[in-house]
């Protein structure tokens, strides 16, 4: 049995009160709930304050480029389908710089989990608007307020046919740990958009603000209903629903590859006989 101690304790580079702490603890609890040992997991992140999270627990880690956590995660998963792969990064990384990969990953539906630390601002670069910043949010680089309406990752994921779409909140760690565990166990690409305050740079969406706006989806919500999911996904304003918004079953992307039926690619021998035959086909 894995315990929370197996995941270790590390000093972090986060501000006191950062939402990342709640997410990190929820992730550790979820991994314990899934009974996964650190070496069975690969955390893949991009760049940003959120993308540092994988350094703060014991696991295999690939901390790659800004925006590119998903393609690296996908490559790793396609090389070794026995790994539990979790892509973890912020809203700027996953929805901004990596937007194209986000759409493509949802379409592909590999068995991987996407944890989006969504604080609706750029933290590491000190407070510029992010794709999910509220309209009118004034920053040093958006002095007249963010002009474009915020990106709604949950609604986009539902319309892209993502097989698991959920929203959590860093201030509700038990609820979040359950969501993450369910996402990891889900067979397919699972998105958990995690709202979190940024105590240093987002003065709009504070702990108090989230407390006033978030609510847990009632048990009556049927996440298998696309119509209901779309309606809930578009609800993002005065009231913000938390929980599993949509889930469906789709074929796994990995299953189309003959080679992966034999397990990790690293262990597979190259057949000289077959290659000889292929080569002589050019004669």
């Amino acid at each position: 049995m894995t315990t929370i101690e197996d995941y270790g304790k590390f000093e972090t580079a986060w501000c006191p009160g950062c939402g990342n702490f709640g997410i990190l603890n929820a992730l550790k609890k979820a991994l314990v709930a899934c009974d996964l040992a650190p070496h069975q997991i690969l955390l893949v992140s991009g760049i940003g304050q959120a993308a540092k999270a994988p350094h703060y627990l014991k696991a295999n880690v690939f901390n790659g480029l800004h925006g590119r956590s998903l393609p690296a995660a996908l490559g790793a998963r396609l090389a070794n389908p026995e790994l539990t792969v979790i892509a973890e990064s912020g809203d700027g990384c996953l929805y901004g710089e990596g937007g194209n990969h986000f759409l493509a990953a949802l379409r592909r539906n590999l068995d991987l989990t996407i944890l989006a630390h969504d604080n609706r601002v750029y933290g590491l670069t000190k407070g510029q608007a992010s794709p999910t910043s509220e309209r009118g949010m004034v920053t040093k680089t958006q002095p007249h307020g963010a002009f474009a309406p915020p990106f709604n990752p949950v609604a986009v994921a539902v319309t892209m046919g993502a097989s698991f779409v959920a929203r959590g909140y860093a201030g509700m760690p038990e609820h979040l740990a359950d969501l993450i565990a369910t996402a990891i166990k889900h067979r397919g690409t699972a998105l958990v958009d995690i709202l979190q305050p940024c105590v240093s740079f987002n003065k709009v969406n504070t702990y108090q603000w989230y407390k006033e706006h978030c609510y847990e989806l009632p048990a009556a919500h049927d996440p298998t209903s696309l119509d209901d999911a779309l309606r809930i996904a578009l609800e993002f304003g005065d009231r913000i629903p938390l929980g599993i918004i949509y889930r469906t079953e789709r074929p796994l992307f990995e299953e189309q590859f003959e080679a992966l039926k034999q397990g990790p690619l690293a262990g597979q021998e190259v057949s000289r006989e077959r290659l000889q035959k292929i080569m002589l086909g050019y004669a």
Binding site: G67, L265, A266
Partner: protein, 565 residues
């Protein structure tokens, strides 16, 4: 007597000229002939003018010739565009509708031979008769293309081919282009393009993963890989863009799959940050860049050697790399396999820099000795490692044990930030210096493995032609022509342009009376690199940057201009 016949088939896209060329090429190789084929797409002319060139005879041939002995014009435009290139006594094969009145013209009444959809096989059979090829290899090639499933298609093709051959027997004028019987047929040979050889080399070298975004002239490598992916146990994935492609390849390589990407200049520009990521995380990846003329979209279906400096410097920060530049079909195979191995050993990005000319050109080659190549194995054995395991343990040669995530209970941590030996990000300045030195220290391994340039000819040549990559074939032919005229010409070819080991070639440069660098670009990038690394300034250069490949004629004409100047 050696025999050297240049055939050119020209027409619009969709007229089946590539089919004629490929089938004739196959039949010629099976008949024991030496051939060299190249393809060209004149996309700037309305209607689209394409050509398929086959040089044939006793060879071996390593480039096309500009002058044409047999021109097959599938449309009138082909006549106008290539009339000037015809040799004395050349044959010109065209439909009666537009065949000109001139000696050597064979005006073929294609409409009388059969329906238009079969005219390409009619032309194929007619060419076979003129060249003196037996009918069977051609029929076999056609059958191999359509397969046994389409019996009625095969029957109508065979019928028109027989008719066409009979017509040619009765109507073709006397000519000099009957192929001599080749020496007794030896072992089977492979008719391979540069890109097909790269794909085979990758499979032989142990490739397990390739991600790509389609881009001419690299796409056909991947098409070839995909055809064999299931039987060879490879995962090939079309990415959403080139940035994704290289990050996928790096992720796959990190998790244990020998990996590659294949692209051209514009796509590679998008990959540049990924190159830097591979270097920082010390993840092996092979990057194939098939050059075409730039800047920007440039001339997408044409050739050039102008991305040398780009590939040499792509990726921010300082780190070692190796760049192979194959000069032949055989090089494409061998260097690809070698690149995969070197990438794994050096835990670094390794490049294969080719171009459209080499990518699409075909030539018969002896089957490769697959037993001579050991497929690369990713990672280190986790047993008997010093503990605690550190992915970036500082070692004298800069190489740290590379474990694969999930392979053992050891945790593997890789970071694009500067990191400590455990792989966790660090801003310690002393550690920074140690890590920079560690990465740069791997240059020694790359240098130990360098493929030395090859010298063809004597060291104290009167004229030394220096070249790299695909220019080898035409440069070699130009040198051979000059040598038959009593000149003392040697060729120094680099199939690896980085790292350079000056001791391997400086003396050769200094010993020649005259040195000319021949490369397919406008500014002399390789000559500049040689000067930077050796101090030797190559005084004369021949460049080509009109989008077309070098030919011996082009090089000889420009050498004359140099001498006149």
């Amino acid at each position: 007597m050696p025999q050297d016949i240049q055939l050119l088939i020209g027409g619009e896209a969709g007229q089946g000229l590539v089919t004629i060329g490929q089938l004739l090429g196959k039949a010629l190789v099976r008949s024991g002939q030496e051939i060299f084929t190249s393809q060209s797409y004149h996309s700037r002319i309305r209607g689209g003018h394409n050509t398929f060139a086959i040089r044939m005879g006793t060879g071996p041939f390593f480039a096309s010739r500009e002058s044409i002995d047999i021109l097959v014009a599938l449309n009138a435009e082909t006549l106008e565009l290539h009339r000037e290139q015809l040799t004395e006594g050349a044959l010109l094969i065209a439909d009666t509708d537009f065949a000109p009145e001139r000696p050597g013209t064979i005006a073929v009444p294609f409409a009388e031979l059969g329906p238009e959809k079969l005219w390409n096989t009619a032309a194929l059979a007619l060419l076979g008769q003129i060249l003196g090829l037996a009918p069977e290899p051609l029929h076999q090639a056609v059958e191999a293309m359509f397969g046994q499933k389409h019996q009625e298609v095969l029957a109508e093709n065979r019928e028109i081919m027989e008719k066409s051959r009979e017509w040619a027997e009765n109507h073709a004028p006397a000519h000099d282009f009957t192929l001599k019987s080749p020496p007794a047929a030896g072992a089977a040979r492979l008719l391979l393009s540069g890109n097909e050889a790269i794909a085979l080399g990758a499979l032989a070298g142990g490739l397990k993963f390739c991600a790509f975004y389609p881009m001419t002239p690299a796409t056909s490598i991947v098409v070839e890989l995909i055809a064999h992916a299931d039987s060879m146990g490879c995962v090939i994935e079309q990415a959403e863009d080139e940035i994704a492609a290289i990050n996928m390849a790096i992720g796959a390589a990190f998790a244990g799959a020998p990996a590659m990407v294949a692209t051209s200049g514009g796509g590679f520009a998008l990959m540049a940050e990924g190159v830097s990521l591979a270097a920082m995380t010390e993840t092996p990846v092979m990057i194939v860049v098939g050059q075409r003329p730039g800047p920007a979209t440039g001339m997408p279906t044409r050739t050039e050697q102008a991305d040398l400096e780009f590939v040499l410097h792509a990726g921010h920060g300082e780190f070692p790399r190796a760049i192979y530049t194959p000069g032949s079909i055989e090089d494409c195979f061998e260097l690809t396999a070698k690149a995969l191995t070197l990438a794994e050993r050096s835990q670094s990005p390794v490049f294969l820099l080719t171009d459209q000319f080499l990518a699409d050109a075909t030539r018969p080659v002896a089957p490769f000795d697959l037993a001579a190549i050991s497929p690369v194995r990713a990672g280190t054995d986790p047993r008997n490692l010093p503990t605690p395991y550190q992915r970036y343990r500082l070692t004298p040669d800069g190489l740290s044990p590379r474990l694969l995530p999930g392979q053992s209970e050891y945790l593997v941590v890789a970071d694009s930030d500067e990191h400590d030996e455990d792989g966790h990000l660090s801003e310690d300045h002393g550690l920074r210096i140690a890590m920079v030195k560690k990465r740069l220290g791997k240059l020694k391994l790359l240098k130990d493995q360098v493929v030395a340039p090859t010298l063809e000819g004597e060291k104290n040549a009167a004229l030394l032609l220096v070249c790299w990559g695909s220019s080898l074939g035409p440069v070699r032919e130009a040198a051979a022509i000059l040598n038959t005229q009593g000149r003392r010409v040697a060729v120094l070819h680099f199939s690896q342009v980085w790292p350079l080991i000056p001791d391997q070639f400086r003396e050769t440069l200094e010993a020649a009376d005259q040195v000319v660098c021949v490369e397919g670009n406008a500014t002399g990038q390789f000559a500049r690199l040689i000067r930077r690394e050796t101090g030797f300034a190559i005084p004369d250069r021949i460049g080509r940057y009109d989008g077309l490949p070098f030919t011996a004629r082009y090089i000889l004409d420009h050498l004359e201009n140099l001498e006149a100047a």
